[in-house]
Symmetry: C2
């Protein structure tokens, strides 16, 4: 397999884009990435998206977006792994370049969640869980996470406040990210007083629904030519799965897909959790951050929340998380999120993260989850 590097990145701001369609958002991010990477000719496009059919009545996004971006004719397809679709699209693009099939590949993630009514968006997001055994009972996706958080708090004797630092860190970081949906820090008091969504998950534990698109341009590391100056290497690309439904897991409090894909990624990159300088974690809900930290080997079982309490997750801490705002505050346009994470990791490794710059960042990890970590797609980037 050929080594693969990221030579260009692009993104739109995450927000409720009432005046831009899905195709416009995706095209804006693609053109930005092509400009950033000084790339004019492209061989293929893999686009991560979860709900374009349900919410905007549009499937066949690959051909549509390729054409819209002026690339009519190239190979193009959509890749879907629920909220992990962006990570899965990176994986597909990575394989195409690693195989030697193509030399310039666009990986896009794009999602428009606000084209529909809020309740229909919520119902559609639940399609990430098991339709026949979970959704049929009317449970929403946040409610599944709330059950996990409740059980976790019971098992490890925690309070909601123990999760606060994850959200506070995310919001503090987003304040310095012009592409983030929420650009204001939050206080512990705001966290504690936040309205309930699905007990014990409050709005301050939840990532917001938003629209956006993010893009990577991938090339083989050996043929970067004029693109090498700011190129960032993909040192690992790994995917693992778990059951969709929580009841089918032997241990609902352990994210085995996260563990498996992180292990594979560490092995590929030849690193350990200690080598990771920053981790773009899938903080769709704060319980997911905590459980991901444990399964990925950054904290022992039941101790994930303590990492945050000990203040180690800020950009100056031992393991900076959600360095540009994370899903919580940058926003979570589901199928685009995995690519946003990668764009942010590349920004850090280029040393272009401004006030949120992680000093001497050399190794960055991103993890994109589909469903309640039914899919886990882990990438490790190095400069």
């Amino acid at each position: 397999m050929r080594d693969v590097s990221v030579v260009g990145i692009g993104q739109t701001k995450v927000k409720e884009h009432w005046n831009k369609s899905l195709r416009e958002l995706a095209t804006e991010a693609i053109l930005a990435a092509m400009k950033d990477g000084h790339v004019e000719n492209v061989d293929a496009l893999y686009i991560g998206n979860m709900l374009s059919g349900e919410l905007t009545g549009q499937e066949n996004l690959g051909a549509l977006i390729a054409d819209e971006a002026g690339l009519r004719g190239i190979e193009a397809m959509k890749v879907e792994a629920a909220c992990g679709s962006g990570g899965a699209a990176i994986r597909a693009g990575y394989l195409a370049v690693a195989a030697g099939a193509y030399d310039v590949v666009i990986v896009a993630g794009a999602e428009k969640l606000t084209e529909s009514s809020n309740c229909y968006t919520t119902a559609s997001l639940a399609m990430a869980a098991d339709a026949d055994y979970e959704n049929v009972h009317g449970i929403s996706f946040v409610a599944l996470n709330a059950m996990l958080m409740r059980r976790y708090m019971y098992e490890y004797d925690l309070m909601p406040e123990d999760f606060a630092m994850f959200s506070m860190n995310a919001h503090a970081n987003a304040a310095n990210n012009p592409y983030a949906m929420f650009q204001s820090p939050i206080t512990l008091e705001q966290y504690n007083r936040a309205r309930n969504v699905s007990d014990p998950i409050s709005v301050m534990d939840s990532s917001p629904v938003g629209d956006g698109a993010a893009v990577l341009i991938l090339m083989p590391t050996t043929s970067l030519n004029g693109n090498s100056a700011r190129a960032i290497k993909i040192a690992a690309s790994a995917v693992a799965t778990d059951s969709l439904s929580l009841h089918a897991r032997r241990d609902p409090l352990w994210l085995s897909a996260v563990e498996l894909s992180a292990r594979k990624a560490y092995e590929q990159a030849g690193v350990t959790p200690h080598d990771i300088d920053l981790f773009e974690v899938h903080d769709a809900f704060s319980i997911m951050s905590v459980m991901s930290l444990e399964a990925a080997g950054f904290a022992s079982r039941g101790r994930g929340a303590y990492l945050a309490r000990e203040n180690e997750i800020t950009p100056k801490g031992r393991l900076p998380l959600s360095t540009m705002g994370g899903l919580k505050a940058r926003g979570h346009p589901v199928g685009a999120t995995g690519v946003y994470q990668a764009v942010e990791a590349v920004t850090q490794l280029r040393g272009e993260a401004g006030k949120n710059q992680v000093i001497d960042a050399r190794v960055a990890m991103t993890q994109s989850l589909g469903g309640v970590a039914a899919n886990a797609i882990t990438h490790i980037f190095t400069n």
Copy 2:
């Protein structure tokens, strides 16, 4: 890139599967393919599907189906390119094996179209076309094809009857395929008297809505070991795109994505159209067969229909088409269809096609189209 072979195939019958869910259909085909290929351990699953979200309320099919088939943990994701999703999934699986990432990969195509009301299925299928510029006017997918057929007949001075042989051949072949939806031949009189769907397309020009799943198991050609006896090589895998909307094409009567992907495939396989022993064409509507034959180089412009009139498309003809019934009579569970085509091509190259066997078949081509050939995914198989 490593050479890739098909070592196992599986399929369910295409029909209205009222008593089987999407996950059951997919799993049935996967287990059949694993048995056929004597495969017990699998590294990854790529599943082609278009409408699981819209029609069955289920996204995240990759993880779901992997788990259901007893393969929890492996890499899995869904690939979508509208009606060409099956072909796109083969492409994704091919790249994973060609890259050297995996040694045993399952490619599945699965679709359940009859879980919903007919009118909702029709509306969902229209998501293969342009939501903002075509569907918004209320046009259905068959109506788009009807406009093409009408224009084609006008330009080349043809009658509907000139298209009859494509459907008659498909139905005759399906009669010998136990997995086909329609197993009865049709006469010219039946074709001529068929009820109108969208003038000039009749039910006898249209592939039927159905449920089904089909599966390939791919391995690197160099490490087949005990699987080599009936292995069939993938000699080419190529994807190209066109605009989704018909009005945006310079020449609506020319399928440029078909031309482009077929050309790339011929080049990869080192063959010409003359070398193709059978062609599983995307005969969603008979006009698509005719235009595909021209764009793929089997007939000159405006002469595609004559191939059928000259009786050259039967299993004993010069270019056998739809040898196991095609989309028209085997049935068209959209996201599964591209994989059915490949299963049938492999069946032919193994010499296991029974009464429909193409004598001395050595080179088989399949083409999976998304939208009105907005995506064209071409594969060439050799034994």
